[in-house]
């Protein structure tokens, strides 16, 4: 599995007053098994970019290659692509529509044209993977809690057995416990099921704890593409774009400015804790 995004531009409503360049010469690639974070301010083009990855939107210019094949080429099997590149939109619980949870999760694999047994097996595995208990399978999706609905919606995409899973702000609007569950789920999918995961998020703290590589979007351009630690080393640049570094990184660098001999290139709470304890000799 590999995705190559090659000099992609996208323009909304070309030739009218509503014209807006949403993507401007975006180039990067995704390799098998990566764990990537995508950040940027509201309106920086993150969502537009991820809807390009499974062919829901076509670039105005440039190309996107999945396993080396241009997905905009004639006769390309987009349905197959949408099974391989699973896309979970913001507030995915708003797309639930069936009478019960299990049937809703079956919708994706059914569209792929699989046989009955395979469909049900996949739906069962997906629901188990997101931690939905058997007794909830035949409940109406509208009767679940916010966090449960979201996990069911993610299962709906997982049931198509994607090789890449893109989660667009998967934690938006959830309580801390719900956030933790979703992020733990992303970790599990990445490490245990070997799925390439891309998370779009506004929370630098969450990304620092979970992903390995970060892409930064600003006004339609891809301005940074590096391992998390490297990206979070550019505090001033990130703050100029209306973004931030993880809170612990900010605290450490302020402590350093105040004269304490701490390292300021640490990004997770665990690292920061042991560093502060070290400085205080404990």
């Amino acid at each position: 599995m590999s995705i190559i995004v090659n000099h992609v531009d996208y323009i909304y409503n070309p030739g009218t007053v509503f014209e807006k360049k949403a993507l401007d010469d975006v180039t990067f690639s995704v390799e098998n098994g990566e764990y990537i974070g995508l950040v940027g301010r509201t309106g920086s083009g993150k969502s537009t970019l991820v809807t390009h990855l499974n062919g829901l939107m076509k670039p105005t210019s440039g190309g996107i290659y999945y396993d080396g094949v241009d997905i905009s080429s004639d006769g390309y099997d987009l349905k197959m692509l949408r099974g391989k590149v699973g896309l979970v939109f913001q507030y995915p619980e708003h797309q639930l529509f069936e009478d019960d949870v299990f049937t809703d999760v079956c919708f994706g694999p059914k569209n792929l044209g699989l046989n009955e047994n395979e469909i049900e097996l996949r739906a069962y595995e997906a629901l188990k993977a997101v931690g939905i208990k058997d007794e909830m399978f035949y409940v109406s999706p509208f009767d679940l809690s916010g966090g449960e609905k979201r996990r069911v919606a993610i299962a709906g995409v997982l049931a198509m057995k994607p090789e890449v899973l893109v989660l667009d702000e998967p934690c938006a609007g959830l309580d801390p416990a719900g956030r933790g569950e979703i992020l733990a789920l992303a970790d599990y999918l990445h490490t245990s099921l070997n799925i390439t995961v891309i998370i779009v998020s506004h929370s630098m703290d969450d990304l620092a704890e979970h992903v390995d590589r970060i892409l930064v979007m600003n006004e339609g351009r891809l301005v940074m593409d590096a391992p998390s630690r490297v990206v979070f080393g550019h505090r001033a640049q990130l703050e100029d774009m209306g973004l931030a570094v993880p809170e612990v990184t900010a605290i450490l660098s302020d402590l350093k400015k105040a004269g304490l001999p701490v390292r300021d290139d640490l990004i997770t709470i665990k690292e920061a804790k042991s560093e502060i304890l070290r400085v205080f000799g404990k």
């Binding site: 007053v17 949408r82 699973g86 939109f89 708003h94 994706g108």
Partner: protein, 266 residues
């Protein structure tokens, strides 16, 4: 596909037409629509064309944008024209098999198409140059006299304004839901009619759920700000006639006069 619908859409730019009082535009549209059905001759349509073309020029809205609204009703236009051409009795123009096209039929079909096209362009020109809130404001003021008959003018205007502001919101929402279901492999374009109708369920159910949720949120938001209907409510920007509005009324009355004169002469 969905974005082709321009009826009820506002085109943000600055022009004389945009700045006119909405009451003038409502009155103007009404006069224009009536005039279209009064004309029986091509001379009349020349006057209507001149009027419409000058209004489009004054509006600063790209012509391409105005005509896009016609695409959505193309089928109705063709259907009307064909029915009129085939089913009007009169002198035969062409005849084959059991079908006869008459001269009167062609004439009527041409009139019908012109009327419908002008009607749609004329009324979309009004919505393109007037914000929904202005439009309902104008409507509320123009129909104020109906209150005497206990007609709930304010409530109707409020409902209209909410409906109009929700059109783009719901279109966007539909677009989002379609994308989300396509990401789950849904296919809305192929298969038999029954299959395609069935494939709308995954769009319509979430759309209705979200429409009700939004309606509920809006109701709570309005109540939190003590909304209690039109009684004693003041406006941030009360409608006030300016010189340009009186000029516009004069132009409209002249147009109406021209229409009546042509109606009598031709």
């Amino acid at each position: 596909m969905i974005r082709d619908i321009t009826l009820g859409q506002y085109y943000p730019t600055d022009s004389v037409l945009h700045r006119l009082d909405p009451r003038v535009k409502l009155f103007g549209t009404l006069i224009y629509v009536i005039s279209l059905f009064l004309f029986q001759s091509f001379t009349g349509y020349i006057v209507a064309t001149i009027f419409l073309v000058s209004m489009i020029a004054l509006s600063h809205v790209p012509v391409k944008f105005i005509f896009r609204g016609l695409r959505a009703v193309l089928f109705i236009l063709v259907f009307t024209a064909v029915l009129n051409a085939f089913l009007t009795p009169g002198r035969t123009l062409v005849s084959f098999w059991k079908i006869t096209i008459t001269i009167e039929g062609v004439r009527l079909a041409a009139f019908m198409i012109l009327r419908l096209v002008y009607l749609i362009i004329g009324s979309s020109l009004m919505t393109l140059t007037t914000t929904p809130s202005n439009l309902t404001d104008g409507l509320e003021r123009s129909l104020g006299w109906l209150k005497i008959f206990r007609f709930p003018v304010h409530e109707i205007a409020m409902m209209m304004s909410i409906a109009l502001t929700f059109i783009p919101v719901l279109l966007e929402e539909t677009d989002r839901i379609i994308k989300a279901q396509q990401a789950r492999g849904a296919d809305f374009e192929s298969g038999s009619i029954i299959r395609r109708a069935k494939s709308l369920v995954p769009i319509l159910v979430p759309l209705f759920v979200s429409a009700f949720r939004r309606a509920n949120d809006l109701a709570i938001a309005m109540e939190s700000r003590c909304y209690h209907g039109g009684e004693g409510r003041t406006k941030m920007r009360p409608l006030k006639y300016m010189l340009r509005d009186y000029v516009a009324y004069t132009v409209l009355i002249l147009y109406l006069a021209a229409v009546i004169v042509i109606g009598i002469l031709f």
